[in-house]
Amino acid sequence: MVSIREMGQDAGGRLRQNFHPLRLPDFCNLGTWLRVLLAVNAMALAVVLAGNRQLAGLPGDFVELAAYVEPITLGSLIALCGGQRWLLRLSPLAAAAAPVLIAMAMATLFATLVAPIETVQQSYWRIWFWSALTAAVLLAWFDLATRARTPAVTEARLMALTARIRPHFLFNSLNAVLGVIRSDPRRAEAALEELADLFRALMQDNRELVPLSDEIALARQYLELERLRLGDRLHVRWEIDSCPADALVPPLMLQPLIENAVYHGIEPLGGAGEIGIRLARSQDSVEIELTNPRGGNGHSGGNQMALANIRERLLLFFDLEATLETQATADHYLVRIELPYRMERRHERRSENTDR
C-alpha cells in the first residue's frame, strides 16, 4: 500500500505531506499545469493592462506576450515534471530555487534561440527578472494553497469522508442472519464472518490507496451478504477480465457504489434485477462502470450523497485526473469512474526523513 504520507514524496501522488519549509506542487499533475498556465496568462494580461495607454492595442499586445510566455512556461513545466524525482531529493532551499532557475533558463533559451531579443526589444535582465518573479510568485501561491490543505486538514477530511455503510443494510443483514440461523446455521456462520470482514474494512484507517483486487474481494463479500437477504432477486454480471488487479484505487470505492445500485436498483424492483460491474484498463487509466436497473417505485434521495462522497475522495486522491459521471436512461442508471492507472510500487517506499 502506498500511503498518502509517502505519496507526498512520490511523483504520482497529489496529497503533499512533506515537511519542506516550502511545499512544491506535483509538477506532473494536470491540475498543476492548468493552474500555472492560467496564472501566467493572467499575469501577462495584468502586465499588458498596466503598460498600455490605449485600449485598441490591448488584444494584440496580449496575444504577443502570451505567445512569448507560454512556450517558456510549458518548457519549464516539462523540465520540472521530468526532473521531479531529482528535485525532491534536493535540500529545501535548493528545491525552492530550482524551479526559479529553470524558469530563468527556459526564458533565456527561448529568447536566444527562438525569438531573438532585438525583435521583442527586451534585455536579458528584464527577461530574467520577469521569469524569476513569475516562478517565485507561483511557488509561493502553491505553497500557500497546500498549506491551507495541511496534512491534518486533509486527513480529517478523508476520515470524515470514509464511506459509511447504510444502517439499513447492517440491521437488515443482522435480521437476515437471525432468520436463517435455525434452518441453515452454516449459512448464518458464513454471513457473520462476511459481516465481520466488511466492518473490519470499514473501520480501518482508510486514508491509503489500495489495490483494486482488495476492493473486488470486499465487493464480493458484500454481495454475498445481500444475496442472503435478496435471494434470487439479485443478479450480478462481472466484467473484469481485462481489469488491472494491481491498480491503486481509493479504499471503499466499489462497495458503496454497489450498495447504491442494490438499494436504488434492485430493492425497489418487483422482480429480479441485474447489476453490471465492469472494470477495465484503457491505456493509462482505469475505468469502473456500474449499471443498475431503474424504474422501481424508487427510494428517492440519498443517492447523490454517496456519489458526492466518492467524488470528493477522488478529488483528494487524484485531483483533476479522476472523473466520475452518471447517466440515467429510462430503465438504467450508470455510474462511470475513470482514474489514472497507478500500480503498487513497493520499492519506492522511501522514508520521509530524508526530507526533513
Binding site: P167, H168, N172, N175, A176
Partner: protein, 257 residues
C-alpha cells in the same frame, strides 16, 4: 390450528419472514397465534387478503411495488381491516412519525418480548385508523399513490398520476387512463376528498385530472344548434370529451381562469 391471533407476515426478504415465523412459534404459549399467510410485498398482501382474514398484519416498510405505508392505506379501506404493526430496520423518519401518532412498530432485528407486547396490544387496542392516517400522511403526504382494482382475484394497481378521469356508473367508479379503464371499489366523493388537489369535479358523476384538461368546447344537444347547449372538456392524451354540468360550470370556469 387452534384459535389464536391470525397473522399475515408481509416482508420482501425471505429470512426476515422466517425470523418472524420463528419468533411467533416461540411465543405460542404466551400469545397463541397462527400465520395465515406470508406476502412478499403490498400487492401480494392485498391478494392474499381476498381469500383469508387476518387479525394482525406485520408489515415491512420498504418493499417493492407497494410499500408498507401505502399498503396500510389500502388495508384501512377493507371492510374488516387487520391491525397493522410496522417492522423496519432503520427508517428514522418513519419511526418518528409512528411515535408521534402512536402507531405501533417493531425494529429489526425484532425481539421476542417486544413482538409479544405489540401483538397483545394490537389484539386489545389496535392503532386507530386516524393514527395510521396521520402517520402515513406525515411520511408520504398526498394520499395514496396508487389505486387498487381487483380483476378475477388479481390485484391491479393504477397510479393516481396516470388517471385522466374518474366516472361514477351505478355502483362502481371507473378510472380512465390513457390505455384502458379500471373498475374501482371507491366512491367518487371519497376520491374527491382524498385527491381534491389533483382532480376537478365537472359533473355529479365525474372528476377530471386538472393536468389532463386541454380545453373546453360548447356542445349542443340538438343538431340545429338551438338551445343553450353545454360545455364539454377536451382531454389530453385520449380522444374523448366529457360534459360539464350546468351546476359545475361556474366553479370549473373560475378555477381554470
Amino acid at each position: 390450528m387452534s384459535a389464536g391471533l391470525r397473522i399475515l407476515i408481509v416482508d420482501d426478504e425471505a429470512p426476515a419472514r422466517a425470523r418472524l415465523r420463528n419468533l411467533l412459534a416461540d411465543l405460542a404459549a404466551e400469545v397463541p397465534t397462527c400465520v395465515v399467510g406470508e406476502a412478499v410485498d403490498g400487492v401480494d398482501a392485498l391478494e392474499r387478503l381476498e381469500s383469508v382474514t387476518a387479525d394482525i398484519a406485520l408489515v415491512d416498510i420498504r418493499m417493492p411495488r407497494l410499500d408498507g405505508i401505502e399498503l396500510a392505506r389500502h388495508l384501512a379501506r377493507l371492510p374488516t381491516p387487520p391491525a397493522v404493526i410496522f417492522t423496519t430496520a432503520f427508517d428514522q423518519y418513519a419511526v418518528k412519525a409512528f411515535e408521534l401518532s402512536a402507531v405501533d412498530y417493531l425494529l429489526k432485528p425484532v425481539r421476542a418480548a417486544r413482538l409479544a407486547e405489540a401483538l397483545t396490544k394490537a389484539a386489545r387496542s389496535p392503532s386507530t385508523a386516524a393514527a395510521l392516517h396521520q402517520a402515513s400522511e406525515e411520511i408520504a403526504p398526498g394520499g395514496r399513490r396508487q389505486l387498487r382494482c381487483s380483476e378475477r382475484g388479481k390485484v391491479l394497481l393504477v397510479a393516481v398520476t396516470d388517471v385522466i378521469y374518474f366516472k361514477a356508473e351505478l355502483k362502481y367508479v371507473t378510472a380512465r387512463t390513457r390505455e384502458r379503464e379500471y373498475l374501482l371499489e371507491e366512491s367518487l366523493s371519497q376520491l374527491e376528498t382524498e385527491f381534491g388537489e389533483r382532480f376537478l369535479r365537472i359533473h355529479r358523476n365525474c372528476l377530471v385530472a386538472r393536468t389532463a384538461i386541454s380545453g373546453f368546447e360548447r356542445e349542443y344537444d340538438d343538431p340545429a344548434g338551438d338551445g343553450e347547449g353545454h360545455w364539454a372538456v377536451l382531454l389530453r392524451g385520449i380522444d374523448e370529451r366529457l360534459p360539464v354540468s350546468r351546476r359545475q360550470w361556474p366553479q370549473v370556469k373560475a378555477l381554470i381562469g
